[in-house]
């Protein structure tokens, strides 16, 4: 799905199709995974999906009750970042995909060195950044793959 800026006019139709499929069974694509696999994903988050097309990436937002998950997809269809916010955390195994093991490893390492902290977990590695924080009723997080962030996009400015 490599498109030049003028070609963006074509995207809404493609997105619309994706949204319709997703509404039937909205699901999370995993970090680093293909957005094309959204509807095929077996573990669905039961919620409503909204897609927004931006200049350098697409944002797909899934809301369920007070919980919101956003996935940021490159023009080539890969999920380069995810964010979450809500009273409880989302299914991180689903959301982080193949990177969930890295999250667990970092949590285990932090648990060994600082057992007194369960309100936040930060992973800053060259190929993976995860910021998870929160307490009951107030969880939030961000995970992204630096290598996949589109040129000119600042993670701080993801909408």
């Amino acid at each position: 799905m490599k498109l030049n800026p003028p070609g963006r006019l074509l995207i809404p139709a493609a997105l619309m199709l994706g949204a319709i499929v997703a509404l039937a069974s909205p699901a999370l694509a995993a970090l680093g995974g293909s957005a094309d696999s959204v509807s095929a994903d077996s573990s669905a988050m039961r919620g409503q999906l909204r897609s927004t097309s931006l200049v350098q990436y697409d944002m797909q937002e899934i809301t369920q009750g007070a919980q919101t998950v956003r996935e940021y997809v490159t023009r080539s269809g890969q999920v380069f970042a995810v964010t979450w916010q809500g009273p409880v955390p989302p299914d991180l195994r689903q959301l982080l995909g193949t990177y969930f093991g890295r999250f667990q490893e970092a949590a285990a390492a932090s648990h060994r060195t600082n057992p007194g902290v369960h309100r936040q977990l930060n992973i800053v590695q060259s190929d993976l950044v995860v910021q998870s924080s929160g307490r009951l009723r107030a969880f939030r997080g961000l995970a992204y793959l630096p290598a996949l962030v589109p040129d000119g996009v600042s993670v701080d400015q993801l909408q």
Binding site: Q64, Q67, A107, N114, R119, R137
Partner: protein, 429 residues
Amino acid sequence: MRQAYRWTVLPGMCLLALCALAACGGGGSSGGGSSTGSTTTAHNFAAGGPNVVPISVNAGPADPSDQTFNIPLVTVTVCEPGTTSCATINDVLVDTGSYGLRLMASALAGQSVTLAPMADPNDSANAISECLPFADGYSWGEVASAIVTIGGETSSGAVPVQVINDSSSPSPAAPSTCTSDGISLNSVGAFDANGVLGIGPFVQDCGSGCATSATNVYYTCTSANSCSETTLPLEDQVANPVARFPTDNNGVIVQLASISAAGAATGTGYLVFGIGTESNNGLGNATVLTTDNEGNFTTMFDGQTLGSSFIDSGSNGLYFPDSSLALCGQTVPANEFYCPSSTASLSATNQGEDGTSSSVPFQIANLSNLLNDNNGSHYAFDDAGGPAETIAQFGAYFDWGLPFFYGRTTFFAIDGASAGGISGPFYAY
């Protein structure tokens, strides 16, 4: 790591801590980060009372090799409803950042009490289990009903509590949608405590979200130990036991004695029930910080507006973003704490939802030095801190952990209650 030196606490160190608590005021503090506790002198809980419970900050049940500090502990008693079978559990973490009582099954084992799993209100053949989420993992175990007694206060009726199943192979096992929270925090070592007493400014641990949609928090489990996500009515959710006391049920006070900047072997203080309900627990001239519906207020620090800030006795340090403070690096856990070459004296301003604000001076010392000095015998520090990440989309926070509590009297008013004529949720100090 601090496992190199873990010696028995010396009697003299205890005396120093007691001295600071009883009458020494700020005199014992050589610039510790807690000098604006305006109400400390007005609240002397040494006389005790039915609503007063001692808190101790010490090694507790922590493995000597653990890097443990600033864990405030109390004793809690649970009884089987309708019986005289009870268990008294010591070393339970006082946590103003959560809601509800959770006890390790191993701490209950061997005591003459059996807390039966709560039947699913929607299907009495099933039992309710809970997956309690944290930022790094989960605690899994059955929900049970218990009469909860803390100090001289006993719940009116049974309170839903969680029995964290810390056996090597829990049954029922945690479902995959629960283990997706991260790592298992089903152990005494995960909290360096025999349980967690969540007495923050809300009643239920999850709230309406878990009552209206099935989430990965509450599960209904069949007799064959097959568990699936379920809704759970508010009244059945694990609840802050203070809200179920017949009196003194609108909130709590946590007061810890001042300690020196070098820390102390033991921290001492009180957990007090009720705000403005007895002669000993009035708000006095405390600054009230009202909160949003997550229990957050705003902290302004170093040009940053940290809009999701909170006061949390369950956090062992002050966690906040400050790029100018050196991290500990690999010597103490990688980048989880601040280790400035010399102690930093800082200040922040807290502001409640209604605009009321107050300035809070604090200090950040080199945690590596704190842990290694005094032969590693200190467990209480008022100047330990670490970084907090800012997520641009959601704002940032200042986690006012246990260092904030030393030398202060801090109030936590429960959502929906009125305390000192003001509606909760709010913090005050």
